[in-house]
Symmetry: C2
Subunit: 150 residues, 2 copies
Amino acid sequence: MRRRGFRNWENSLKENGYKLTNPRKTILEALERRGGHPNAREILLELSRKNSEIGLTTIYRTLDLFVKLGILKRYDFGDRQNRYELFSEDNEHHHHLICKKCIKVIEYDDFLDEETTLIKKIEKMLTEKYDFVIDKHELTFYGYCKNCRK
Amino acid sequence: MRRRGFRNWENSLKENGYKLTNPRKTILEALERRGGHPNAREILLELSRKNSEIGLTTIYRTLDLFVKLGILKRYDFGDRQNRYELFSEDNEHHHHLICKKCIKVIEYDDFLDEETTLIKKIEKMLTEKYDFVIDKHELTFYGYCKNCRK
DNA sequence: CTTCATGCAAACTGTTTGCAGAGAC
DNA sequence: GTCTCTGCAAACAGTTTGCATGAAG
């Protein structure tokens, strides 16, 4: 279950013994169309725009599967829901700036080199000091956007 | 509603027109005793050890209030629950290392100077570029601890 | 004695599970 | 044909809300 760009998602399914079904295709298309960081209900909404009726249960199960296969990334921005983003080579590393009121999410990748250097250093230290295998990190800034400050 | 060390929490209540009640006292004591990053149910448990019976509803409302008054910090470590930690002068700034399996949370404060410098820089850039008022940030590493890797 | 706090029951939200029927291979 | 996938209904967990009672000031 290695990570791979979502262009190969069909192979990724087959290689791992999963079936290529209509709901799965449709959900992936919806994710590509919509972009951003939708939650399950927002994906349902995007589907219904194209008159695709897929049960919420299937959506949850498909999202889980896609995360497991490395097709999607799962985020939790502190509003008690899972949000999803297609994984691709070129969005591998960005961080987030989130408005606590409207949950607008801005991705930024400035200072990435400096960040990466420091984070690698911290990761190494933490791994040794606490005997952890580190998997991922998240650097997130929270605040209020222009609109929500009024 | 300024932040203040939790030693002044009684004043903080009074100044803001809230009553000094037994449940509030008891919950604060439980938080001091327990330490760590308990969720609501774990606080209930800590209370029951000392035979304090307080309704979950009251616990939630008290925690909300304490967060609002700056007595507590609220965290979300991605397990879909709120967790709380007493705020005090000397734990103002640490980051977290979390085991995704057992949700053990390690606080670390190594590299803090370097981190702070970089984070201030990023914060400034984000504030200007996106017109955000930034409130807080979180740098969190996720992985698996020694025990959970077996 | 007024106002705010408490606690119960019920509601709510996002998510998960059991199970029978449908679809992929 | 077999085995996985789907979708409905029901369960679930954490949290919130309405409302009558109780305690603080």
